[in-house]
């Protein structure tokens, strides 16, 4: 029942938002708040069921296990904070005269649709319907990326649409080859679920599923932003409205990774896991290295954060590639990264609203102009570069230590990439924080709706950096078992 509620809530919210009239703009805000609160508590109920029974399902169409529950948790938290932040952000954009009511309504409809597709992708039990949902995320977000209708945002959205469509068609091809390698049709009757595939995994043709996995990794890897298929990501993440950037970076990339992991779990039961691990190690390592260099030369703080997402998705991929404790750390890193990146993008949103520029060179003295946002931004930066007491320090350490004995060269390259990113971040951020505030910028903090979600994320990040909540620990440990 809760699965159905979780699927229907964003769908109903999107439809309701469509019918809101010009003079009732406040209803859009009520709808988004109500929807995200319902989603949040429904996810909590699903997690409770998963912990109690091992899974939650609406047989045979929807199924959530520990791995799915972790993803739902990420969607619920980042979705909630992004939605609350959107209210203040859109009010400010309307006040500035940047957008009007119809744009605000369009934003709300698309945001709910985006959340709907991601929730659907994570919960649906069929690999093909999962593909349909992931493809649908492209369709709902393309208009969000081109939201400001500027030349640059349209170009970014075009790149996003074309590159991701090709990538996802390759993932579709991979899915078809994967399904063809197993004679499911007679036994199941058409609707193939992950559970069915796992039961019949012994009949998988090893040679065929190897080819299938290559297509799947390249296809979903495009959506995930792995190098060299990442080219859309910095443009899309930097041109979208910041709450959407936080969802793209913190959630969507993880949903794409989830799709790969679902296949990896099955494939590793029939062939030597070394095959999938080696591929993931390759893409993970080059993603970290490339993103590290790009962070150091970036001139735009939103692009900086986008490249950081590539770096961290590479790191997570590396964790799954190393296996063992690396998988545990990678799953935990998914949570930490999603929250941290959400915090950073939302803080960047406040900076953008104040300075009206995303160029690092144009932003000076944020500590004076936006003291609270700046402190929260610093907290996010310390977390993303892996400084204690934030959890990323621990997960990075675990991931790298998981591979140090078996893959010392890869670990060395990864450390080089992380070190370059570290230096790049420190250089850029110190430029933005200090110095004289440019003329015309008023030293005044944004209002509560633009600050409270950020404070909430920092508190969560700080707390789970010290103590991992038992429910999260159980979900992660149960998920690790899926890979063994």
């Amino acid at each position: 029942m809760e699965i159905l509620i979780l699927i229907l809530t964003p769908a109903i919210a999107a439809i309701s938002s469509f019918f809101v009239k010009r003079k009732q703009q406040v209803f859009l805000e009520y709808i988004i708040l109500l929807a995200t609160v319902i989603e949040f508590f429904t996810v909590a109920k699903i997690i409770y069921t998963v912990l109690e029974n091992g899974s939650s399902s609406l047989a045979p169409y929807f199924f959530v296990d520990s791995l799915g529950a972790i993803l739902l948790l990420i969607i619920a938290i980042v979705g909630f904070t992004a939605s609350v932040y959107s209210i203040g952000y859109l009010r400010a954009e309307v006040k500035n005269g940047t957008i009007g009511f119809s744009r605000v309504r369009q934003y709300h409809i698309l945001l709910h649709s985006f959340l709907f597709t991601m929730l659907f992708a994570v919960q649906v039990a069929s690999p093909i319907l999962m593909w349909v949902a992931v493809e649908a995320t492209t369709l709902s977000t393309a208009f969000l990326i081109s939201f400001y209708s500027k030349k640059t945002s349209i170009e970014a959205a075009w790149k996003y649409l074309v590159i991701n469509s090709v990538g996802l068609l390759l993932a579709f091809l991979g899915t078809l080859i994967f399904l063809a390698s197993i004679s499911l049709h007679e036994t199941i009757g058409g609707f193939v679920t992950w559970q069915d595939i796992l039961l019949l995994s012994s009949s998988l043709n090893p040679a065929v599923i190897k080819i299938a996995f290559v297509f799947l990794l390249v296809g979903y890897g495009t959506k995930m932003g792995l190098v060299p298929m990442h080219t859309w990501l910095p443009d899309a993440h930097s041109k979208a409205p910041v709450p959407i950037s936080s969802l793209l970076s913190g959630v969507l990339l993880n949903v794409a990774l989830y799709s790969i992991l679902r296949f990896k779990i099955v494939i590793d039961t029939s062939i030597d896991p070394q095959f999938t691990q080696n591929l993931m190690l390759f893409f993970g390592m080059i993603s970290i290295l490339f993103a590290g260099f790009m962070i150091s030369v970036s001139q735009n703080y939103k692009r900086l954060l986008a490249y950081s997402s590539i770096e961290h998705m590479g790191l997570i991929t590396l964790g799954f590639g190393f296996g063992g404790i690396g998988i545990y750390a990678a799953l935990l890193h998914m949570v930490y990264h999603a929250l941290t990146k959400s915090l950073l993008f939302l803080s960047a949103g406040n900076i953008f609203l104040k300075y009206n520029s995303t160029k690092i060179a144009d932003v000076r003295g944020t500590l004076t102009a936006l003291p609270i946002t700046s402190i929260l931004f610093i907290a996010g930066i310390l977390s993303i570069i892996g400084m204690p007491p934030f959890g990323i320090f621990l997960t990075e350490f675990y991931i790298l230590s998981a591979g140090i004995s078996a893959h010392p060269i890869i670990v060395t390259f990864a450390i080089i990439g992380l070190a370059i990113a570290f230096v790049g971040f420190m250089k850029h951020i110190s430029t933005m924080l200090f110095g004289e505030v440019p003329a015309g910028i008023i030293n005044e903090e944004e209002h509560g709706l633009s600050i409270s979600p950020l404070i909430m994320i920092v508190i969560i990040l700080f707390c789970i950096g010290f103590v991992i909540p038992p429910f999260l620990q159980s979900l992660i440990l149960n998920s690790v078992k899926l890979f063994s």
């Binding site: 319907l129 075009w158 469509s165």
Partner: protein, 218 residues
């Protein structure tokens, strides 16, 4: 499947592949759309024939919806776009025609190489046809990369989609009607969005030449 159907599938796959090859050289957008219409019709006929040979109502329904979306609605959308915006000529390709053909030749050799041998094992009955399907898939990807025109890229993606669907028929992937419709719904929404974006690109940049769209700088 009896021999005559297998033979039809073989020729249909060759036509699908050749349309992608010819599209590499076509300059007019309208011709490109007509080629897409032709390719979609061939895929539709493939589906009709398979549904007949297997007496599958599900496949027949899918085929009819596919016909509506890909043969009627999508080409009409594209032709309307071309007429409204007067974008008759497609932008050129990055590589010259001889080099393009050389790359296509290489793709054909690659599709017939031992790399994809294992995919033939998925359906021994169509072992001669599958390499053409693989060549169509790879050539479609090459078309997307090689062409400068936004419309060419969109048509390239739709060629890729047609090639993958025809490949799926060859290896006899069967899904329920809900899944088939889910995929078709996705594709039809995708076509609408792609057309909207092409219009936006043209309105903002005054051209559909992708090489002229370089406003994003790092």
């Amino acid at each position: 499947m009896d021999y005559s159907i297998l033979q039809f599938l073989f020729f249909a796959e060759i036509i699908i592949f050749l349309i992608v090859v010819f599209s590499q050289m076509v300059k007019k957008n309208k011709n490109l759309v007509l080629f897409y219409l032709l390719q979609s019709t061939v895929v539709f006929l493939m589906l009709i024939l398979i549904s007949y040979s297997e007496s599958s109502i599900t496949l027949l329904v899918t085929a009819i919806i596919m016909f509506l979306v890909k043969v009627i609605i999508a080409p009409r959308f594209f032709l309307k776009l071309i007429n409204n915006n007067q974008v008759k000529s497609s932008a050129s390709s990055y590589l010259s025609t001889p080099v393009t053909l050389f790359v296509v030749m290489f793709i054909v050799i690659f599709a017939n190489s031992s790399v994809f041998e294992v995919l033939i094992s998925l359906s021994e009955k169509v072992d001669k046809t599958i390499p053409f399907a693989i060549a169509s898939i790879l050539s479609s990807i090459f078309l997307i990369i090689n062409r400068r025109g936004a419309l060419s890229q969109i048509i390239g993606i739709l060629y890729l989609e047609n090639s993958i669907i025809s490949f799926a028929f060859l290896i006899e992937i069967k899904q329920t009607l809900v899944l088939e419709l889910g995929i078709l719904f996705d594709i039809s929404v995708w076509i609408v969005i792609a057309v909207v974006f092409i219009s936006m690109v043209y309105k903002n940049f005054g051209s559909l030449n992708i090489s002229e769209i370089k406003k994003l700088q790092d």
